[in-house]
């Protein structure tokens, strides 16, 4: 593992009986970058994230997160990785502060620091006004913001964000993407962003990987992928055009 590589997988494979969800995945993500993890539904993105978190056992191959094996050191890996799943759930009868306090206690954060951290994070994600409102009454956008606050409470080095902006209105989605961008820029958090919204991914990603049918078919910066598919030219290609080109070829 290189000094600046924070996530690395070597021939990572996951099979469910005969179905191969992830096939020989070789991936490297550098520290401090935003990596766009793209692919259609069922491509194996979430399965990969779960294996990287130690929540799913790979059939073969290996993975390393900050030099730790997620399978053997799952607890340590989960201490440095914040994971926001596609359909993140909340306890509807708790308010935002109580929910954050619960997550903080699960992370073993000292009681004396919890109140301060909670206040700071609620302000960061912009839901201070609704801090004592029951989560059951939150909009989807507010829930996603609270979800981000919850993953940030442990001060992670890496964020796994699975379909962060799914079901959000364009303005809400834009605000969230800006928030992630600022977290990456200001706190140097490495981000692995799974999304179908290619425009948003293009906006903040340093590099992208395209996964189809469990295989990583392309990986690199948007410019390099465009060059590979469309050759040298004046025209700037969007990530959507590049993605569709790869997708159609497969």
């Amino acid at each position: 593992m290189d000094a600046d590589t924070i996530i690395e997988t070597v021939n990572l494979t996951k099979k469910y009986k005969k179905y191969e969800a992830v096939s020989d995945l070789n991936l490297k993500v550098k520290e401090g970058e935003v990596f766009g993890f793209l692919g259609p539904n069922g491509a194996g993105k979430t399965t990969t994230l779960l294996m990287l978190l130690g929540l799913s056992q790979p059939t073969s191959g290996s993975a390393e997160i900050c030099g730790l094996d997620p399978l053997r050191k799952a607890k340590e890996v989960k201490r440095v990785v914040g994971y926001l799943p596609e359909n993140v759930g909340f306890y509807g009868d708790l308010d935002a502060v109580q929910s954050l306090e619960y997550v903080a206690s699960l992370n073993g954060i000292q009681k004396s620091k919890i109140a301060e951290k909670t206040e700071e994070l609620l302000e960061l994600v912009g839901i201070t006004k609704d801090a004592h409102k029951k989560i059951g009454a939150f909009s989807r956008g507010m829930k996603q913001r609270l979800g981000i606050a919850e993953v940030l409470i442990k001060e992670p080095s890496i964020l796994f964000l699975d379909e962060l902006t799914l079901g959000l209105d364009p303005e809400g989605a834009l605000r969230l993407i800006d928030l992630i961008h600022s977290l990456n820029r200001d706190r140097k958090i490495t981000v692995l962003l799974c999304s179908h919204n290619l425009h948003q991914v293009q906006k903040i990603s340093n590099r992208v990987g395209i996964m189809i049918n469990g295989k990583m078919i392309a990986e690199g910066s948007i410019e390099s992928l465009a060059k590979e598919k469309f050759g040298l030219g004046e025209k700037e290609y969007s990530l959507e055009e590049i993605y569709m080109k790869y997708f159609q070829e497969v």
Partner: protein, 319 residues
């Protein structure tokens, strides 16, 4: 340990603040209260007529009130507490998407299931202890007899056996909540198993006993055949946790009981006559009599939880 404690505290808080628990607790407290009140009144009349009765305090729990005694009530309806506390413990988390959030925190996965089970056991313990204390206080006021040390020990053992008995059902309901994705399915499966093990096993025991050692109602049955029939019936019915629990608690609460099952059939007058020469068993002897029942009850509770634990640990959690 911080993960386990956090889950435990959250679950305990949820149990005590949930309407279903409050309703169930109120119902159980009310029925126990009425049962002991009836038993107390009945005992008061009897005690006035008797010169000396041993262990009158325990009779509050073993004497039948209007319909049933306190221990019979817990034997029948205690499992419902366990089932209600656990039938949706895992699948509800899965359905609302909080399970993946929990397991992606830096805690061991078993902290989730251990925390939930321990919170359930703590809730059951609080419930049972408070009901027993309320009945004891109430009984003291009605009967006016202070319990002896041995009676207090017997009550403590009774509470302990009851905790394991109800925890067995808690373990069953947690297991079903892991196995079934639907909350309604796990609730239905838990209730179905409760009905089967509590009510149908005794019917099955009778069928099995009559099939192996049939009893002819017209002609007189041979004594050996009768004993064989009874033995089979008793052995088969022991596969019901309710039977195990009833036999264990009845022997612990009633020191005059010298066996968990007797083949001797006596009429009321014969029983009254023989009771003159009966002496109560000491606590140690009562414990020896019910030791197999107690260990079996504890074992099935632990086995049930161990199965839930293993299934949960092996399961892949995606939501």
């Amino acid at each position: 340990m911080s993960g386990l404690f956090a889950v435990f505290r959250k679950e305990l808080c949820d149990h005590f603040s949930s309407y279903r628990f409050v309703i169930l607790f109120a119902l159980i407290a009310m029925v126990s209260f009425i049962t002991s009140y009836m038993a107390g009144l009945h005992m008061k009349e009897n005690l006035e007529a008797l010169a000396k009765t041993r262990f009158p305090f325990l009779m509050l729990f073993s004497s039948q009130g209007a319909l049933f005694s306190m221990i019979q009530f817990v034997a029948f309806f205690g499992p419902l507490i366990g089932l209600i506390l656990g039938f949706d413990s895992i699948n509800r988390e899965r359905a609302q998407g909080t399970l993946i959030k929990l397991v992606s925190q830096p805690i061991y996965r078993d902290a989730v299931i251990n925390g939930k089970f321990l919170a359930g056991v703590a809730t059951i313990s609080v419930l049972l202890v408070s009901v027993v204390l309320v009945i004891s206080g109430f009984g003291l006021a009605i009967v006016g007899v202070v319990p002896e040390i041995e009676e207090i020990w017997r009550l403590l053992i009774y509470i302990l056996i009851s905790i394991f008995y109800i925890s067995f059902w808690l373990g069953i309901s947690i297991l079903f909540s892991i196995l079934f994705k639907g909350i309604a399915t796990s609730a239905l499966a838990s209730v179905a198993l409760w009905i089967f093990l509590s009510f149908f096993i005794s019917l099955g025991a009778e069928v099995a006993a009559n099939a192996v050692a049939p009893q002819d109602s017209k002609s007189q049955t041979k004594p050996e055949l009768f004993v064989k029939n009874m033995r089979i019936k008793e052995t088969v019915s022991l596969s019901s946790p309710m039977v195990l629990y009833s036999k264990a608690t009845e022997t612990i609460i009633n020191p005059m009981r010298k066996t968990t099952g007797s083949f001797i059939m006596m009429g009321p007058m014969e029983e009254l006559l023989s009771s003159r020469f009966k002496n109560p068993l000491s606590l140690g002897q009562s414990m020896i009599v019910v030791f197999p029942h107690m260990t079996t009850l504890i074992a099935i509770t632990l086995i049930c939880f161990a199965i839930s634990y293993l299934v949960f640990i092996k399961q892949e959690i995606r939501t």
